[in-house]
């Protein structure tokens, strides 16, 4: 009865991921598996800071590991980006603290 996470509907959509060290990575979901490992195309990281507006760092094709015992491996909140909402928010004006890392 172990169906994977219900991410089928999100394949080829633009999604945003919060990793367990508190980074936000935005990209196109190409694939996933039962352990929530993810393939992300055209990805970029959005860096939030309290001093400057949001920075976007281009990353290209990424595999993000879903499950692990090591601190550097990643777990996530995956959200489908609403394109309209995303255009409306002017990223250069948003200032915020970066997200905290996940502590188990």
């Amino acid at each position: 009865m172990s169906t994977g996470p219900g991410l089928e509907s999100l394949v080829n959509q633009t999604i945003s991921i919060i990793t367990n060290d508190g980074r936000i990575i935005v990209g196109t979901l190409r694939g996933f598996d039962q352990a929530t490992n993810i393939i992300l195309d055209e990805s970029h990281e959005r860096v939030y800071s309290t001093r400057e507006g949001v920075q976007q760092l281009a990353l290209g094709l990424y595999i993000i590991r879903g499950d692990n015992m090591y601190v550097w491996l990643l777990r996530s909140v995956v959200g489908e980006l609403d394109e309209e909402l995303d255009l409306v928010n002017d990223l250069s004006k948003i200032k915020a603290h970066p997200l905290k890392p996940v502590i188990h």
Partner: protein, 93 residues
């Protein structure tokens, strides 16, 4: 399996999921799976001023292992039924 069944009963209700990185997300429970991964719809981040990181996200999938709390509507909980189910589960295992 008990909480998996319990959350399946709560699909469609509004819940607030608090994560282990202190982020709290309110939304309608769309689905849950055996790992207690949660899908929420029409989400609103609690304290949006502090966490603008998800402004453009409407629905989300939350990995079960990063959830700290799931805050439930008080009328969504039938305590007696939950009591019985836990007693049965405790006897069975």
């Amino acid at each position: 399996m008990l909480f998996f069944s319990y959350f399946k009963e709560l699909v469609g209700k509004e819940v607030t999921v608090e994560l282990k990185n202190d982020l709290a997300i309110r939304g309608t429970l769309h689905s849950v799976d055996q790992y207690l991964n949660i899908k929420l719809e029409n989400i609103k981040v609690v304290d949006e001023g502090k966490y603008p990181h998800m402004l453009s996200v409407r629905n989300c999938f939350i990995r079960g292992s990063v959830v700290r709390y799931v805050q439930l509507p008080p009328d969504g909980v039938d305590v007696d039924i939950l009591h019985d189910a836990t007693r049965r589960e405790a006897r069975g295992s």
